[in-house]
Amino acid sequence: MARDHLTEIIVFAVLFLLVSGMGFVAARWRRPDSMHSLDEWGLGGRSFGSWITWFLIGGDLYTAYTFVAVPALVFGAGAAGFFAVPYTIVVYPLVFLVLIKLWSVSHVHGFVTPADFVRARFGSPTLALVIAITGIVATMPYIALQLVGIEAVLKAMGVNGHWPIIIAFVILAAYTYQSGLRAPALIAFVKDVLIYLVIIVAVLYIPAKLGGWGDIFDAAKAKFDKTPAPGDGITVAASGQLNYAMLALGSAMALFLYPHSITGVLASKNRNVIKRNMAALPAYSFVLGLIALLGYMAIAAGVKPVSTGGKPDTNTVVPLLFDHMFPDWFAGVAFAAVGIGALVPAAIMSIAAANLFTRNIYKEYIRRDADAKEEATVSKLVSLIVKAGAVVCILALDPEFSIDLQLIGGVIILQTLPAVGLGLVTRWFHRGALIAGWAAGMAAGLWMLYQIPNPAKGKEHFGGSAYPLSDLGLDTKTTVYVGMLALAVNVVVAVAGTLVCKAAKLADGKDATRAADYLADEGDPKIKDLELSAST
């Protein structure tokens, strides 16, 4: 099996090792005086300009799993899978004004994580702990899914077994440990050059071989017309339209609540870098849209997904399409693009999760007097544990289970929106009410996800994220994204709770930030500098 793909495997391995070498060298790139602080190891010295930030955030948000799962969804369900495109169009203008506030206040106060911000804004270590744990729990399965992406590529090359993934992650863990955020920032550049190259070739070359775009869409339409499922097709069914829009909006609101996205934003050197990136990042959305359509090309090309244990793995359709359509050496390049596409986000996610643990659990509850060097050491070690955990997730559990966890992850990370997102805009909410809202949103979200079956996959629970409104007693076939409904519960409880707390005059935390902090820019004094100058 694997011997038939020797050229592909060699090209893949060479590119993979080349990039890994870059990961180790990255520690010397823009070398600081010392790597012994979270600002340097975890945020690259908060010094990245527009280009590096563009590659870093792009590499962070558009992951190997996206490249594999979005076309797989389009392959299986049609238009409903295309929601990733409006999602990534909506997200940047939506967060444009909010992220610059987060950057400014983090710059002044030295925040590294979203929970750091919440702690200062609402004066509540408990609320910060809740936000930190939510972030870590939502990030872990996301890292595991990067492995699913690599695994899909390996399966298409006929390489089975888990040892190649373990090797890849040991290498990744070693250079992230050494170079911190500089490693994914440098590798992101190579990743994107490969991805863009592969996609441009794919959208020019494959449709030409398949008879043109019109034929591709017609082949997809013919396939969906034949299936009994009412929800699929090359346009969205009437009952799924609201869900399509809400899924796009909900995913967009969730995206920059993920701790790893915030890491990328905080690593930029000033506000204009962020604003420019909000305008330039949609270039990736265009690529994502074309990648999504690879799912239809796979239908037109008659690709049959690889079956493991009798179950077809639709994640393999894109790698198989490349394998069928491209000459061996270029298929190897394409596989390397997906494989390297897994390393960049996995590294940033493990750094973000490690920073959350260090700042909001270790320093808060275990070692109050930890200095900057100790913080960096703890984060480096925890980043190793996080990656080991992700590997165990894949080896010990069914990958299908990781996909369920990621579905849950999107819903639960949305529950941090009132504290983190609204907290940047207003200090009106009471800390106790925010905790109550978070708990209510989590409970409602998990309960709804538990109720959703997926008959096609033979699952009774956690079968998807579209909640039928008829379950709430409404006479309609319309479905809505669970995350949005859960967020609505969360906000209602937080607002009502705040009114009650204020009426009862319950003690609230102290806001350590001031209005001017949210407008600060590069070069403005930081609180740490002032403390240092005051103490000497």
Binding site: I89, V90, F96, I100, T235, V236, A516
Partner: protein, 82 residues
Amino acid sequence: MTPDDSREPTPTQPPPVADRTDRSPWNWLLIVPVALPLLTFLYNSDKPRLAGFPAFYWIQLAFIPLGVACTVLVYQMTKKRG
């Protein structure tokens, strides 16, 4: 202790910078690329096709340059800060 230290304590917060603001009427333009892609009824159809692409796909892809244009305009108009 030097005599200087007995004067007013050094503030631990930086002095506020006056006249800065993120407010601008141009920001309203950001609503366009946020709202438009969510209005599924505008583009949820097969016809008219463009270069083989059903309307559902080419219209959504066309929203991308529109979004970029709006965001770039807002960035350019709000770049200079007081």
